[in-house]
Amino acid sequence: MVIDQDHISQLLEEVTDPEIPVISIRDLGILRDIKIENDQIEIVITPTYSGCPAMLEIEKNINNTLKKNGIENFKIATVLSPAWTTDWMSEEGKQKLKDYGIAPPNPTGESDIQCPNCGSYNTILVSQFGSTACKSLFKCEDCLEPFDYFKCH
């Protein structure tokens, strides 16, 4: 078995955000780098929000996933700069969020957020803060469903 970046990257696909279990840490942009030097592996991650309680869980899951697959020679490094941004979220990740019922970050602003339930753009912000630090709360004026919006950050 060759331990290269692709292999590790594939293994880490199964490490997801504990609060949004459909999206992997790579899709979210939390996984910044996989460095391999002389059999020593370094997994570089960055927090979404500074108080994000999921980070500890994510580190644990990276740890378990790699060990489960026979990889022992690694360490996990957390970097703060450059600061995490939703621009790093993959297109695939955005689609997964949508399918899960969360409106993905919308770079053009908060006036045209699409309802993940019925597809309408006739939506309003209910609260700047939602169920987790990364989300705010919206409501669809057409189907009347409330929904989470993953904030641009």
Binding site: P47, S50, L80
Partner: protein
Amino acid sequence: MNENLFNYILQQADNCLILGQRLGEWCGHGPVLEQDIAMTNIALDLIGQSRMLYQYAAEVQDEGKSEDDLAYLRDAWDFKNVLLVEQTNGDFAKTILRQFLFDSFNCPFYEKLKDSNDERLAAIAEKSHKEALYHLKWSSDWVLRLGDGTEESHERIQNALEELWSYSEEIVNPSEADDDAKEKGYGVDLDAIKSERTDKIKEVLEEATLAVPEGTYNHSGGKEGKHTEYLGYILADLQFLQRAYPGNEW
């Protein structure tokens, strides 16, 4: 140990921890669910920021201590937070106004700290600035809404302003650590923040139809460890578990 750097980091770390703890007191008591969640979310951001700072402070201190030692095992006179953040929550209007006075500092503070010649502080600032911007948006929106709202909401936030006004300036008045930080380039120039902040406060208060109090007296002492009676009670709550069961972990 570089004592000025250590104190400089603690000033901000303590501000964030104590205000985070205060906001956390609202958990389950907010006026409406959405704002209850807003306050606890902001608390979480602030405590996250304080953790990054305490981790760094513990390294600078170099005595084999951790972020937890700094948060849970120091006494009131070792805390460097400004008196503003330890003031009681009062009603929602007072909490909002306290938050606004803090955010109007926190935002430009982190923005300028991004240029620190200390890489670690610059990285923490880069991360925290985005969060502070969002907090400021929330608190200034609410100052407007309450000030320019009903007669009662206006009266309440005007009262809060009278009560907290004399605690507003301390945060932009330099301590020994602030002076050292500015001179050596690892910290910010508080004078520059002061004018930017004063403009922002004036602008929001005016739009909110609130009258700036006439008093010019300013409380001070927090940065030197001289606190109001409130801090002791906050720490009694915050530190109880580690004091009663040293080293206990979740």
